[in-house]
């Protein structure tokens, strides 16, 4: 689904959401994702929506629907990098998302962009975000693969 389609479907049900970085965006509340336990360190925020950045592919925003100031930058590694990324997920996490295998969900990583040196941006491969789109549920998990590091340099991923 491209961006235009995503924004145009069910136009009548769209609502305006104040976001941290994109000002006011029309979003469909049916795409809101419930994060039962929030994100690590942000346990009290339980609902987010994923909004593709309109200009800067491949970045997307994980925007809190409860607090305009809370947003994270995401990349879906398997749609961007040639090197496959498959977190090793504990059964408890799969159960929470009501899936049997990681293949049933969409995988995102949170990107940290240092203000002074954006070229050193890193993706968090240790704590990815998994989304079960049909359940409209998301969860940050800890990959059990110890090679999945907290800070993986994004520009290095493009080289591989």
């Amino acid at each position: 689904m491209n961006l235009a389609q995503k924004y145009n479907e069910n136009e009548s049900t769209m609502i305006k959401l104040q976001t941290r970085s994109l000002d006011i965006v029309d979003v469909n509340p049916e795409t809101f994702l419930s994060f039962q336990e929030g994100l690590f360190g942000f346990g009290s925020y339980k609902e987010f929506v994923i909004i593709p950045d309109p200009g800067e592919f491949p970045f997307e925003w994980l925007q809190s629907t409860e607090s305009p100031d809370l947003a994270f930058i995401l990349i879906a590694p398997n749609e961007v990098f040639s090197q496959k990324y498959e977190p090793v997920v504990a059964l408890a996490d799969l159960n929470q998302l009501n899936i049997k295998s990681i293949k049933e969900c969409k995988i995102y990583t949170i990107v940290t962009i240092p203000q002074k040196s954006p070229q050193d941006m890193t993706a968090n491969y240790q704590g990815p975000i998994l989304v079960n789109e049909s359940l409209k549920a998301g969860r940050q998990i800890i990959s059990l693969d110890e090679d999945h590091k907290l800070r993986v340099r994004v520009l290095d991923l493009l080289e591989s």
Partner: protein, 81 residues
């Protein structure tokens, strides 16, 4: 906090289905074995702390928009090809 003294090869139960066994003690390091149902997640506590800190750093950037940031990636790709 509950503090229990245990010897090697002894264990404690948490609830009725989680068992923590002292496997080995060497100097200041202790090896623990954990028997838990497969639906219980077990991680070193510092991993939680590190991911919390990383999340805070990711959310805390002043970045108002990503203008030009995507270009970094495109430029990189071009250089490589």
């Amino acid at each position: 906090m509950l503090v229990l003294a245990r010897k090697v090869n002894t264990s404690i139960m948490i609830g009725d289905d989680i068992e923590v066994v002292v496997v080995e003690i060497k100097g200041d390091q202790v090896k623990l074995g954990i028997k838990a149902p497969r639906n219980v997640t077990v991680h070193r506590s510092e991993i939680y702390q590190e991911i919390q800190n990383q999340n805070k750093e990711a959310a805390g950037s002043d970045m108002k928009n990503l203008e030009g940031i995507g270009n970094l990636l495109k430029k990189k790709k071009k250089e490589d090809s």
